[in-house]
C-alpha cells in the first residue's frame, strides 16, 4: 500500500517540533531542532531532514503547520509600512484605544506605539450609523487623492476601517476599489473583511495587523511551499488558526490576522482531541515550555474559543482559543527581591544560553537547574542530546541560596515550589473565571517540562487524574495532525431575541454559508462540509454574552425563538448560578463550516501511539537517583525508568522518574503511573 504520512510541524520560539504519522500503519516519527528565527522555513526543512521522508516528501499527504511568524512580526515590529484610511473625525481610534492602562500601578505606563504612525492615518469624509444607514456619502475624490499620495509614499499596505462598517461595508469596499483606481498597487485589508463584529478599536486594530503582517507571512508561506514542492510534496498544506482548525496557505496569505496565535493553538487543539478519544470531557491543559507556561481549558470536550484576543497589547478580533500565559517555565530565572523574598520569572534564560546546567554559558539559576539539582530530571539526558551538568546547576543554585541565606537544597525546593504555585494560581484564576472548579477536571501535562510538574500541580489543585500523552515535548506538533479545515465568521446583529430575529437570520444563512464555503476553495482531501451556528446571547442591558450552539437543519435554525431563549437560560444558569428573568438579546451570529480530513473517520482521535519498547530494555537493572519528593518533603531514592518499557496496562508506583526522548515525567511518591492506550495515566493516592 502507498504510504500516507501526515506531517505536523510547529515552529516555536526555541524549538521546531515535527511529528510524522502514518495513518495506515500507525507508525510515528518525531524530530526536534532549534528554531531558525526569521528564516523559519530553514528549521522546518532541517527537522524534515532528520526524518525518512526528507527525500520522499511525495509520501506526505497532509502537512499542517503551526507558525509564530505572525506573532514574531508583531513582537519584533518588523512588518510592513502600513497606512490607514479612517472616518473623518476619528483619526486616532488606533492610538486612543480604550484609554486603560495595562499596569494600573505604573504612573508612567505608556501604551504600545500604534502600528500606523499618525501621519499615515488618512481621515476621509464618510459615515455610516449603527443601523447601517449611510449618513454621509463617501467623498470619492478624497479617496482618489489619498491613493495618489500613497502611491508615491512607499506605503506597502493599507488598512481601511470605517465606523460601523460591520453594519454596512459598502463605503469600505468602495474606498478599496477607488484606491486601485487611483493607482495604489500594494496590499489592502478592509475591516469588514477581517471582522464583522462591532467595537471600532478592536476591528481597526485587526485590519491594521492584517495589513502589517501580510507581506511577511505571504512571502514566508510562498517560500516554504516552494521548498516543500521541490522536495516532492504534492499534498494539502494548512496553517493552524488562532481559533482552532486550519486554513489553506492561500487564505493565510490573504488574512494572516486569523493565524497570529497559530503556534500555541496546536497543543490546545491536540489536547482536546486527546481528551475526546479518552472519553474525558473536562480538563486543564498545562503546556510548560522554556520561557513560559500556557494554560487552556477543555470543557464538554471542546476548547474555550473567544471572539477576540490580545497580543503585545494589541487586540485581534478573530476567533481565539482561550490560552493564558504565565511567565514561569523551565528557563525562568530565580532571583531575590528588594525585600528578601525569592521570586521566579518572568525573566527567562531563553533558548540561548538556556539554564546554567545546559553548559552553554548561562549562569543564572533557573527552574530547570533547580529541578536537576533536586534529581527530578533523572540522569539529566534531554532531547537533542543535551547532557545536563550537575555542577553548573549547583553553582547557579548556590548563588541564589547565598543571597537568601539558606541552603542550596532549600533554595532549589523553593524555586520548584514557586514555579508550581504560579502555574497553579493561574489555573485557579482561569477556571474560576469560567465558574468552574479545577478539582473536577483532569490535568493534561504537555510541553517538555509539563510532565515534570504534573504531580505537584495535581496535589496543589486537588486534581486526581493526570494524563501525559505520547511525546509530550512534541505535543503541539502532534495537535496539528488532528486539525480540520475550518471557516468561521461572527456577524454582529444586536437585536431582541424574538421570532422575527430568527426569521431574519434564517433568510440570511444560506448566502452567508455559501460565501464562507467559497473562501475555502475545493479540496478533495477533505470530506463533506459540516455547518454549524452559534448564537451569542445575553440578557438585555448586559455586555457579556453566552454562546449557544444551535443544531441547524440544512441552512435553517429549526428551533423557535422561545426554544433558543430557553437553551440560553439553562446555559446561563449552569455557568452563573442564576436566571435573571430579563428579556434576551441577540448579540451576534457565528457561522462555522468544518471539513474533516478524509480517512479521519469523521472523528478527531489523537491517533498517535507510543512506540513500543524493544525487549532488551526490560531486562536491564533499574538505577535510582536521590531525588526530592514534594509529598514527603525530603529526598528519597527514585528509580529512573524508560517510559518505553511500560507496556500497555502495566502500572508502576511512584516514586519513579520516567524518561523519554522529549520529556521527563516526575511521579512523586503516592502516585501511580499506568500506561493505558497511548498515554500515561497518573493517579493520586491521598497524601
Amino acid at each position: 500500500m502507498r504510504p500516507s504520512w501526515r506531517l505536523g510541524v510547529d515552529v516555536g520560539g526555541s524549538f521546531t517540533d515535527l511529528i510524522l504519522h502514518d495513518t495506515v500503519t500507525g507508525a510515528v516519527e518525531v524530530a526536534k531542532v532549534p528554531s531558525t528565527g526569521v528564516a523559519a522555513d530553514d528549521g522546518v526543512l532541517q527537522a524534515l531532514a532528520a526524518t525518512h521522508v526528507a527525500h520522499n516528501l511525495h509520501e506526505v499527504t497532509h502537512f499542517v503547520h503551526g507558525t509564530t511568524i505572525g506573532l514574531n512580526t508583531l513582537l519584533e515590529r518588523s512588518g510592513a509600512n502600513v497606512a490607514l484610511l479612517c472616518t473623518r473625525g476619528f483619526r486616532d481610534i488606533l492610538e486612543l484605544r480604550a484609554g486603560n492602562r495595562d499596569n494600573p500601578f505604573d504612573l508612567f505606563w505608556k501604551p504600545p506605539t500604534p502600528l500606523v504612525p499618525r501621519e499615515l492615518r488618512f481621515p476621509v469624509l464618510e459615515r455610516v450609523d449603527a443601523n447601517g444607514r449611510v449618513v454621509q456619502v463617501l467623498d470619492e475624490e478624497e479617496v482618489l487623492a489619498t491613493a495618489a499620495v500613497l502611491r508615491d509614499s512607499g506605503v506597502e499596505s493599507v488598512a481601511i476601517a470605517f465606523l460601523n462598517a460591520y453594519a454596512n461595508p459598502d463605503n469600505e469596499r468602495r474606498a478599496a476599489e477607488l484606491l486601485r483606481v487611483g493607482g495604489f498597487m500594494g496590499e489592502i485589508s478592509t475591516s469588514c473583511e477581517v471582522s464583522r463584529s462591532h467595537r471600532e478599536y478592536e476591528r481597526t486594530s485587526t485590519a491594521v495587523i492584517d495589513a502589517y503582517v501580510r507581506p511577511r507571512m505571504s512571502q514566508y508561506l510562498q517560500r516554504l511551499a516552494g521548498r516543500m514542492a521541490e522536495g516532492g510534496f504534492e499534498g494539502t498544506a494548512l496553517i493552524m488558526r488562532s481559533g482552532g482548525g486550519g486554513m489553506s496557505f492561500g487564505e493565510a496569505s490573504r488574512h494572516p490576522s486569523a493565524a497570529i496565535m497559530s503556534g500555541p493553538a496546536g497543543a490546545a487543539e491536540g489536547a482536546a482531541a486527546l481528551g475526546r478519544s479518552l472519553g474525558i470531557s473536562d480538563a486543564v491543559v498545562i503546556d510548560v515550555g522554556g520561557t513560559s507556561s500556557d494554560v487552556s481549558l477543555i470543557r464538554d470536550g471542546g476548547l474555550v474559543i473567544m471572539s477576540s484576543g490580545v497580543i503585545e497589547g494589541l487586540p485581534v478580533q478573530t476567533p481565539w482559543i482561550d490560552i493564558r500565559t504565565v511567565g514561569a517555565g523551565g528557563g525562568s530565572i530565580a532571583w531575590v527581591d528588594q525585600g528578601g523574598l525569592l521570586c521566579v520569572g518572568p525573566e527567562s534564560s531563553g533558548a540561548d544560553p538556556g539554564p546554567a546546567c545546559y553548559g552553554r554559558g548561562g549562569v543564572s539559576p533557573t527552574v530547570t537547574d533547580a529541578a536537576h539539582f533536586l534529581g527530578m530530571l533523572g540522569f539529566g539526558r534531554l532531547a537533542g542530546g543535551i547532557e545536563l551538568d550537575g555542577d553548573l546547576a549547583e553553582r547557579a543554585i548556590a548563588s541564589v541560596a547565598g543571597v537568601l541565606g539558606t541552603s542550596s537544597e532549600h533554595a532549589a525546593r523553593g524555586i520548584v515550589s514557586l514555579a508550581t504555585t504560579r502555574m497553579a494560581n493561574a489555573i485557579r484564576e482561569v477556571t474560576i473565571e469560567r465558574g468552574e472548579d479545577p478539582r473536577e477536571s483532569a490535568l493534561v501535562a504537555v510541553g517538555g517540562a509539563g510532565p515534570l510538574f504534573a504531580t505537584a500541580l495535581a496535589d496543589e489543585l486537588e486534581i486526581s487524574t493526570i494524563i501525559v500523552p505520547a511525546h509530550p515535548g512534541n505535543f503541539s506538533a502532534q495537535g496539528l495532525l488532528v486539525v480540520d479545515m475550518t471557516q468561521t465568521v461572527e456577524i454582529s446583529t444586536v437585536m431582541p431575541l424574538n421570532q422575527a430575529a430568527i426569521d431574519v437570520i434564517n433568510t440570511r444563512l444560506p448566502l452567508e454559508f455559501i460565501a464562507l464555503e467559497s473562501k475555502q476553495g475545493r479540496n478533495d482531501a477533505y470530506a463533506e462540509v459540516q455547518r454549524s451556528v452559534i448564537l451569542d446571547l445575553r440578557y438585555r442591558g448586559q455586555d457579556h454574552s453566552v454562546g449557544v450552539d444551535i443544531e441547524t437543519a440544512g441552512d435553517r435554525i429549526p428551533i423557535p425563538a422561545e426554544g433558543v431563549a430557553c437553551i440560553f437560560e439553562q446555559k446561563y444558569l449552569a455557568r452563573y448560578g442564576v436566571k435573571l428573568g430579563e428579556d434576551v438579546e441577540l448579540v451576534s451570529v457565528q457561522l462555522m463550516v468544518r471539513r474533516t480530513l478524509n480517512g479521519h473517520n469523521g472523528n478527531r482521535d489523537a491517533a498517535v501511539q507510543v512506540p513500543h519498547a524493544s525487549q532488551t530494555h526490560t531486562t536491564t537493572s533499574v538505577r535510582t537517583v536521590s531525588c526530592y519528593s514534594s509529598r514527603m518533603a525530603k529526598r528519597i531514592p527514585f528509580p529512573v525508568v524508560e517510559r518505553a518499557t511500560l507496556t500497555s496496562g502495566h502500572a508502576v508506583d511512584g516514586p519513579v522518574i520516567l524518561t523519554e526522548p522529549t520529556s521527563t515525567t516526575y511521579v512523586d511518591a503516592g502516585f501511580r503511573a499506568r500506561s493505558g492506550g497511548d498515554v500515561l495515566w497518573l493517579t493520586a493516592r491521598p497524601a
Partner: protein, 623 residues
Amino acid sequence: MNREQPHPERVPPVVVLQEPSGGDPRPAASLGGVSLDGHNLDYGALGEIVVSKCLPRRPGVAFSDDPVTTQVVRYALVSVAEQMKRSLVRTAVTSIVYELLDFAVGVYDKQMRLLGQACGLPLFMGTLGFCIEAAVSAVGGEDTLEEGDILLLNVPYFTGAHPQDAALVMPIYFEGELIGYSAVKAHLLDVGGKEPYSTDTVDVYQEGTMFPGVKLYQRGQPVQDLVRTLVANSRMPRAVVGDIQAQVVSLRVGAEGLIRIAKRHGMDTFRASIERMFDHGEATMRARFAEIPDGEYAAWGEMDGDGVSDEPVPFEVKVKVIGSDVRVDLSAAPDARPGPINCPLPDTVSEIRVALMMLAGGGEQPNEGHFRPIEVVTRSGSMFHPLSPSPCFLASWATLQAMEVVYAALAPVIPERVPAASGGDILALLHWGQRRGTGEPWGDCTVSSVGQGAFAGGDGANALMHISQAGVRSVSIEVTELRTPWLFEQLELAPDSGGAGRYRGGLGVNVRMRATEDLWLTGIVERTKNRPWGLFGGEPGRANEALIRFPDGRVIPLRKVTRLHIPAGAVIELRSGGGGGFGDPAERRMESIGADIRGGYCSVERTRCAYPQAAGISEAATQ
C-alpha cells in the same frame, strides 16, 4: 502651581486609627439598645486632628524565617483576590461593574489587615479595611458574627464613597475559628436618594438609603426583610439584587481561597508568613521613601466648585518626609463644603496610599505592610474628613486631584520620579431616556481620557484614563451608538493640548456628540478653571472644557449638572485636558519637534511660539 499661604501650626490631640479594637461596646442610647448616634462613630470629633496609620509589627509576634513559604503564601493571597475579582466580573449584571470596573475586592486577616486585594479602580485601594472595621463594630463586634453571615454597609463616612458603593463583608472561619474576612465594594446602580446620580446634594440623606452595617445574610441565608427594604428603596431593584448576588459569589470565592491557604500551610505557618509578608511590603516602600530627602513639602490643589456653588475650593497638601516615614497632611483643607465634593476619611486615606504606592510600590499588589510607613493627617469636619450629614456624593473627585498634588509637592526633591499634572478628570457623563418609537428606557455613561503629564523620562502619554481609574476602559463609539441615541461627530486627539516642554505633555481629546433624540444628562467636568501644571519650566496643558450647544443656538458650559434635559439636535462638546510639560521647552530636541508636526500632534504656529529653537520651522521641513 504652589501658592503661598500662611498656615497656622496646629498641635492638637492626635487620634490614631486602627489600634486593636477592644473596650466596652457603645452604650445603648434608646430603643432597645440601638444607638442614635448617627454616623459619627470613631473617626474623631469636630475640629480634632486625626492621624490615620497602620500599626507596625507587634513585638513578640511569630514571624516566619522562610522566604520561600512566605512568597508562596503571598502569591496565593494575591491570587485569591484576583479570583474574587474575576468571579465578580463574571457574575455582575451591570456594565458599571463588569465594564467600568467600579469595585474593589480583598481578603483581610482577623485583625482586619489587608492580605491581598484586586481592584477595578486603584482609587478603591485599601478602603475595604475601614468597611470591615465599621461593619463588624456596628453589629456588635466579632463575637456576634457567625459562619455564613454577610454584612452590608454603605454609609459614606465608613466606606469612603457614595452610598451606591455598597460594601459586603464576610467573616471567614477555619475549624470553627475566625481567621479573617473577605470584602467586596461595588457600585450598585441605585439605592434611593434624590437621583440615581447627582452633583448637587446638600446632605447625605439625599444621596441614598443608608445601611449602617447590618446582617444581609445570617448563617448563609439572606435576611428577607432587609432584602425587601433594599428592593423597596431602589429605582433599579433587579440590577441591584443581581449585583449583590455577584458580590456574594465573590465573597465566597475569597473565603474558600483563604481557608485553602490556611489548610495547606497550617494556621501557625500562615500567621507567621503573613507577618513576614507585611514586613516585606513595608521594606519595599521604605527603601524608596528613604531616597526622598527629609523635609516638609507643600502644594495646592483647587476644585472648580462644590456642586452647589461655583466658588473655587482651594486646598493645601503638605508632605513631610522623615527618614522612610511619609506624613501627608490635609488638615489645612477648608471646612466641609455645602456641596457633595467632601471626601470621607477612608477615601482620603486610601487615595493618599494609592498615590504613594504608585510612587514607591514597584508595581506590586499592596498589602497592609505597604501602608505602614504612611500617615495621613486630616481635620475632622473638613472637606477631607467630613462628618454626617455633609454631602459626599462626588467624594472621589477631590481625592483624585489630591493624588496629583502630592506629586506636585514632592517634585522639587524627586524630580525624576513624578510627572507633571494630567488633565485631572474623567469628564463623566450619565445619560438616559426613552427610545423614540419603542419607548424603551435606556441609560448609559461615558468617561473620557486626558493627556498625561510629561516626566523626566519622556513625553506624557496621550489620552489615558486618570491614574485613579487606570483599569477603566472607555466605552466604544459603536457600542454607544448601538444602545443610545448619540451620534458621534468627532473623537480624536486634540493637537496642541499638551503643555510644551523639554518633554511635552500628553494630548487630551476632542469629542463632539449629537443627541438624535431627547434625553437627560448628569455630568461632572472638573478642573476647567486651572490648567494642568507643568514642572521645571514646562508649560501647563489645556484645561478641561465642556459645553452644550442647543438647537436654538444657546451655548452653555457643562461643569456639574444634574438631570439636564437635552433636546434632539443638541451637541455636546468635550475638550479634555492635556498634560503639563516637563523642563524648558528650549531644550526639546528638534527631532521630537519635527515628529510632533509631522504627525499633527502640534501645529506649526503653536510650535513656533512655544519653542524658540523652532521659531522658523515650516511643515515641509519636518517631512
